[in-house]
């Protein structure tokens, strides 16, 4: 297959080849036609989407002929793929375990040119090597990947695809960077998907309208003759013509020039190179006339300049004002106030998003931290230091660089020597810092910090290890340890928590600052831009309160969407009788345990749950092993529930118990920390909550809201990323099994390095549909997937490739089965804020909007079907809306209904008697993924999958 194209051995070759092959667009190809006729279907799009498409194309073409390949980077996979092009029958792969069919091996008809695939640089190189050296292996059938999930072969089937997503970017040829970003903007239509239901609400948001006065922005390509390599020199040569040709306003990156004014189609300028007197010819060619609101990138650059003019300092992605920090000396912290700004073309035109942001900085050196740890724990300090320091990013003052600390070298100190790269002579760190940075090390006894640069950071001299001096390294950022200390977080919050009114006031101050600072304002004026004085005014809608349905009565959800009281007073929809259960506790907690049991039996009745007396297991000590042994000894198949009372909270003990109860002998479990049930005045309310939680874990149902769809299945997906340990991610998957979305089936998939999440999710979806069928004796005719944890950059991939992959699952249930699939991305970490405009005592002020407020126009995305929903109620600070992007909608629901569905689902999280920030399935999926990823690190037993054991 690789016909010499790899000669150059790299990404370029692979790309080139990919370019020559038909690019398949999701949802456009017709059961493999493009594979067989080999005619390129030209569907170029913008660069990002284009690359995504390449990726898709490669995956689509490899999927049919080859059982799933685990990793993209590993050698076996490469071999397998090399073999794939050959038209040869696939050997059936035996089914492994209880899994079901996954893939439909489908051969390209013999004699057809093998489809080419794009691959990453490493892959291409690897393939090239393989081709040269191990030709025979390339002929062999694909080797099963070690990560491969269960497969059974199934006969080739016709592949059908769902309707294409609503909006696709129209074709543009692939080409580089800034040049094309604007091309694709041309005839895209703005997506308007708004609802009408609900009470009109006067709202505002943290957006400021940007008025464009100019007709256009002109884009030019600049070339130099002779060629000039230095970007600085290019800039300088062009800038020399500011007075005669270019004008005072320009944005030039070395190749592409943006001007607010029109020059001739081609302008030739001449400059002299100062170093050698050579004459340089500069050709400026008009490439494009852009509508002014589309030059978002350019404007964001301008805003960076403005921030600079306003003396704001960029830290990370935002800008902060270091001149007025709030000090928190008791924690050695500083809080810098700052702003988030982003200018974008929204549904309602060009808007500037501005928000208050805070940056917490630390004022300690690593040496300070080490010193303190030693003081606190003279014996075990090394371990404590590793915990506190390894993994953090430090800032070195002498060169203003940041490094991640990978290790601590206790056997080294500043007087240790290393070989200087320049001279090859040994040199001590003391000498080095004195000589190179003019820094005197004071403490000669400190250990050294080790940073191992990644390959790409190593730079020219290929340093494998960089030693840093703790004395010169400043701690940055908050560690998890600090975050878990609520005393610190409380003090930080007192500086960072702001009300809507304060938030908007500081935004107004910012706008005012821009408008009154001449140099800043000029930056905008040059391009014909003007900021409106105040935040945007909007009309939103408020959905009516939902009715919370209990077994016997129903209740409105209340203004604050909080039904904590009625949840403990009303009979829940389905109370599971607690007949056989055990309570495990240490002898010290005997009294508390007994009080708790009595209280449980008292409070459970009114909630409609029968509770029998449990088996009490008293332990003599609090060792983890003692707990485990006791549970094992008393376990039998009739036990419904294990309640464990911990004397103190300890992660290792918690993990061990959860592993035992979720994997080894599957039984729902509830851990209670003794302190929680230690306060007699709170015991009643605490016990009520625990009892509800236990009921959920047994498969009970607490409350419901009206669900106006009979045969819909609602799916929630969230991913847990194991960041400190790196590679492994866990996806949690839950699917509703009842009409009222009160029962949930759950699965997880643990994603190995290089594995694709979607393949695991497909399997989860198939399992869920099967389960739905066995519970409801019918297949769901609508499937809603709410997916959390997807960034903006991945939206096109999810909308295209992943939707198609999920749709593939349906063929397992017969050709006739074509449920209507909708995929909704749920984003909760967003900078958008929505405020309610409230009239009071003759003036308007801004407040948090009540739960159920929806905003679906003007500030929404220009190119997506999306909306913002405020579902939770907060008592302090500013509420965050949640952003829903409907990337694929086959449901036929109106926007109103889609928004209502999302809002209804935020009522259904059983661990909280109120609305939550995301739909319950996402919250459940999050909880599940966290438990599996953080605590048990294995898939939970299948026996538990029909209940909320992970709550």
């Amino acid at each position: 297959m690789a016909s010499g194209g790899y000669g150059r051995g790299g990404r370029g070759a692979a790309l080139l080849q990919a370019l020559n092959t038909p690019v398949r667009k999701p949802g456009q190809e017709d059961n493999g036609v493009q594979v067989t006729n080999g005619k390129p279907v030209s569907t170029p799009v913008g660069r990002g989407a284009y690359l995504a498409n390449l990726l898709q194309a490669s995956k689509q073409t490899e999927a049919p002929s080859q059982p799933k390949v685990g990793g993209y980077g590993d050698a076996e996979a490469a071999i397998a793929m090399m073999g794939r092009g050959m038209p040869q029958p696939q050997p059936p792969i035996p089914s492994t375990g209880r899994g079901v069919l996954q893939q439909q091996p489908q051969q390209p008809p013999p004699g057809q040119p093998p489809p080419a695939r794009a691959m990453g640089r490493g892959m291409a190189a690897l393939a090239f090597l393989k081709e040269g050296t191990s030709q025979p292996s390339a002929e062999q059938p694909p080797a099963p990947s070690p990560h491969r999930p269960h497969h059974t072969p199934s006969p080739p089937q016709e592949r059908m695809t769902p309707s294409p997503p609503e909006r696709r970017t129209p074709p543009t040829p692939p080409s580089g960077g800034m040049a094309t970003m604007s091309l694709e903007e041309k005839d895209r239509r703005v997506v308007h998907m708004s609802g009408t239901q609900g009470k009109p609400m006067p709202l505002s948001a943290n957006y400021i309208r940007v008025i464009c006065r100019n007709d256009a922005v002109y884009q030019y390509a600049v070339s130099f003759n002779p060629e000039i390599d230095s970007r600085n020199l290019r800039y300088k040569l062009v800038a020399e013509h500011k007075d005669d040709i270019i004008g005072q306003t320009m944005a030039f990156d070395g190749a592409i020039l943006y001007l607010p004014k029109r020059l001739d189609l081609e302008t030739v300028m001449r400059s002299t190179r100062i170093t050698d007197g050579a004459e340089i010819t500069i050709r400026v060619k008009l490439v494009k006339v852009l509508p002014p609101q589309s030059c978002v990138q350019l404007y964001n650059v301008i805003f960076r300049r403005i921030m600079n003019i306003l003396s704001m300092v960029p830290v990370g992605r935002h800008n902060y004002d270091p001149r007025h920090p709030a000090q928190i000396p008791q924690h050695r912290l500083e809080v810098w106030p700052g702003y988030i700004t982003a200018i974008n073309e929204h549904e309602g035109g060009l808007l500037l998003l501005a928000d208050v942001s805070h940056r917490v900085l630390r004022t300690e050196t690593v040496l300070d931290v080490i010193g303190r740890i030693i003081q606190a724990n003279r014996r075990g300090f090394q371990e404590d230091c590793i915990k506190a320091i390894v993994g953090v990013t430090v800032l070195t003052r002498y060169n203003n660089k940041t490094y991640r600390v990978d290790d601590i070298a206790w056997d080294k100190n500043p007087r240790s020597t290393f070989t200087a790269t320049s001279t090859g002579e040994p040199m001590t760190f003391v000498e080095y810092y004195k000589k190179n940075h003019n820094k005197q090390i004071e403490d000669f006894e400190q250990p050294l910090l080790i940073h191992r640069p990644k390959k790409r950071e190593q730079g020219a001299n290929r340093l494998e290890v960089i030693c840093l001096i703790p004395e010169f390294s400043y701690m940055t950022g908050l560690t998890d340890e600090i975050r878990s200390d609520f005393r610190v977080m409380k003090d930080i919050a007192s500086h960072t928590r702001v009300t809507p009114e304060q938030r908007v006031n500081s935004m107004r101050k910012f706008i005012d600052n821009v408008n009154t600072t001449d140099r800043a304002r000029q930056q905008l004026e040059q391009w014909g831009l003007e900021l409106q004085k105040d935040t945007i005014e909007l009309q939103g809608r408020l959905f009516p309160q939902e009715k919370i349905l209990y077994k016997e009565r129903s209740e409105p959800s209340g203004n604050q969407a909080d039904w904590g009281r009625s949840a403990t007073q009303e009979k829940c929809i389905l109370g599971v009788e607690l007949k056989v259960w055990m309570v495990v506790f240490t002898h010290r907690d005997q009294k508390r345990a007994s009080d708790y049991i009595d209280q449980t039996r008292r409070v459970a009745g009114p909630m409609g749950i029968n509770v029998q007396d449990p088996q009490r297991v008293q332990l003599n000590d609090d060792r983890t092993d003692t707990f485990l042994t006791a549970i094992r000894a008393n376990m039998n198949p009739r036990v419904q529930m294990v309640v464990v009372i911990f004397p103190t909270s300890r992660d290792d003990r918690y993990n061990a118990i959860k592993k035992l109860c979720c994997v080894e002998c599957p039984v729902p479990s509830q851990v209670i920390i003794s302190k929680t049930i230690g306060n007699p005045s709170k015991l009643r309310s605490v016990t009520q909550k625990i009892t509800l939680q236990i009921n959920c874990k047994l498969g009970g149902e607490l409350w419901a809201v009206e669900m106006p769809m009979k045969t819909a299945m609602i799916v929630g997906i969230d991913v847990y990323h194991d960041s400190p340990r790196g590679s492994r991610s866990v996806a949690g998957f839950v699917a509703s099994m009842s009409k009222s979305a009160t029962r949930w089936y759950s699965r997880t998939c643990i994603q190995g390095p290089g594995e694709e999440l979607i393949s695991g999710l497909k399997m989860c979806l198939i399992e869920a549909i099967k389960k739905y069928h066995s519970v409801n004796h019918g297949l769901p005719d609508r499937i809603f997937v709410f997916r959390d944890g997807v960034g903006d950059g991945q939206l096109p991939t999810v909308a295209g490739y992943e939707v198609e992959q999920l749709s593939d699952c349906f063929y397992h249930f017969g050709e006739a089965y074509q449920p209507r699939l909708s995929v909704i991305i749920v984003q909760k970490r967003i900078n958008t804020r929505i405020f309610a405009r409230v009239q009071s005592q003759g003036r308007t002020f801004l407040d948090n909007p009540p739960p159920g407020t929806v905003m679906d126009h003007t500030i929404t995305r220009r190119d997506w079907y999306d909306f913002f929903l405020v579902s939770q109620h907060v008592r302090q600070g500013t509420v965050s809306p949640t952003h829903y992007v409907v990337v694929h909608d086959g449901s036929g629901l109106k926007p109103d209904q889609m928004q209502r569905l999302a809002y209804k689902l935020t009522h259904m999280y059983y661990n909280w008697p109120g609305t939550v920030r995301v739909p319950a399935p996402c919250q459940y999926a999050h909880k599940l993924a966290y438990l599996v990823g953080q605590n048990i690190r294995k898939d939970a037993a299948i026996e538990l999958s029909d209940r909320l054991f992970y709550l």
Partner: protein, 375 residues
């Protein structure tokens, strides 16, 4: 440097001339050496002529005594493109200098007078005089030594004797050099100037050559002019503010402003130490923890307020801390987490919960009486 002369933007680098290698690079050694001179004289204010890429600022910034730096160059665009180097870094804010520091970047010629740089303690001209046209070379000593009349002036310039060590070398080290002096030529010029304006001059060099080339001197030669009299011999006569230089950038660096009394600082230390020492006990069932006074005292850095445990105990009692009956430890009350629904199955929900508000709104309009069907 005469008007209109534009210099190549890239820094001169002797390392590229194929001669002896310098480590650290010679320009760094030069800057460090000049900064050391300023440190030695405890200079407070300095003007650097020909500061071009502003890299020297980083060295001057680290001289603790310095409170004002003016970087002057004739080439505005190079100042503009390097001015970010004059800005305070993030670390400068987090770990502040003891003294204030202002940096001005000014565009102008050494022969012009500007009152902003009129009273500086020191003038530095690093590898700059060799770029000056003859008339400017004639004129600038007047403005530097007469009108400014600093306590010290530091001038460095290439040592032309060293050039024989560069391989295949002819001409000058940089295309814009108007001349390169031998040590004798440089010293002759300096002595004459020093004598004229009342300065004593001492000489040294930067960048030693390889063994056996000692007779050639260093790669760069340096002259330090020290004013003989306490006050400038001929003080400048202009009394008004004269601003002939164009201001390209103005940066105020943060410095430590101590808003806290000694006691307050000590209290913060105590709070921090207690927070640190009780960190592991946050989830313990006990509501209070005893921290031995001696241990806490060891932890405190600011010991001058209470040097022994006795006075420390008195300080703590006065600050409202509870001391155990035996007087040996401080009793810390462990705050309980705000969230009272911590069901410990790690069910800390995102909602900061407090007491459940269940005021029933009598006036709630119940608009959804009949549910629609979306099927």
């Amino acid at each position: 440097m005469a008007e209109g002369v534009k210099r190549e933007i890239t820094l001169e680098n002797e390392g590229t001339l194929g001669g002896p290698k310098f480590d650290p690079p010679l320009y760094k050694q030069r800057y460090k050496k000049v900064a050391d001179v300023l440190k030695g004289y405890a200079v407070k204010t300095v003007v650097d002529y020909g500061c071009a890429e502003c890299k020297v600022l980083n060295y001057f910034k680290n001289v603790p005594s310095i409170e004002y730096i003016a970087g002057v160059d004739i080439n505005r665009s190079v100042l503009e493109s390097s001015r970010f180097l004059a800005k305070p870094l993030i670390t400068d804010y987090l770990h502040r200098r003891a003294r204030p520091l202002d940096i001005h970047l000014l565009c102008g010629s050494v022969t012009e007078f500007d009152s902003r740089v009129a009273r500086v303690d020191a003038v530095t001209m690093i590898e700059i005089i060799e770029h000056l046209e003859e008339p400017t070379l004639q004129d600038f000593p007047v403005s530097v030594f007469q009108r400014i009349g600093p306590k010290i002036a530091v001038i460095t310039t290439p040592n032309s004797e060293f050039n024989v060590l560069f391989h295949d070398f002819s001409g000058k080290r940089h295309w814009d050099h108007k001349f390169e002096w031998s040590r004798a030529e440089f010293q002759e010029w300096c002595n004459r100037v020093g004598e004229q304006y009342g300065y004593t001059v001492s000489y040294s060099g930067v960048g030693e050559g390889p063994k056996g080339s000692e007779h050639l001197g260093c790669c760069s030669q340096m002259a330090v002019f020290e004013r003989q009299s306490e006050t400038p011999v001929v003080n400048f006569t202009e009394t008004e503010e004269v601003h002939r230089y164009a201001l390209v950038g103005e940066y105020t660096h943060p410095h430590k402003e101590n808003n806290y009394t000694r006691e307050e600082q000590l209290l913060f230390e105590v709070q921090y130490a207690l927070g640190f020492l009780t960190k592991g006990n946050l989830s313990d069932p006990e509501d209070t923890i005893d921290i031995p006074l001696a241990k806490l005292h060891r932890f405190i850095k600011l010991k001058d307020t209470c040097q022994d445990v006795e006075s420390f105990r008195a300080f703590l009692i006065q600050a409202g801390y509870v001391i155990s009956n035996d007087g040996l430890s401080v009793i810390v009350e462990m705050p309980t987490s705000d969230s009272d629904d911590d069901l410990s199955d790690n069910t800390q929900e995102e909602e900061p919960s407090s007491t459940v508000v269940a005021k029933k709104d009598a006036g709630t309009v119940w608009s959804m009486t009949c549910e629609e069907c979306w099927d």
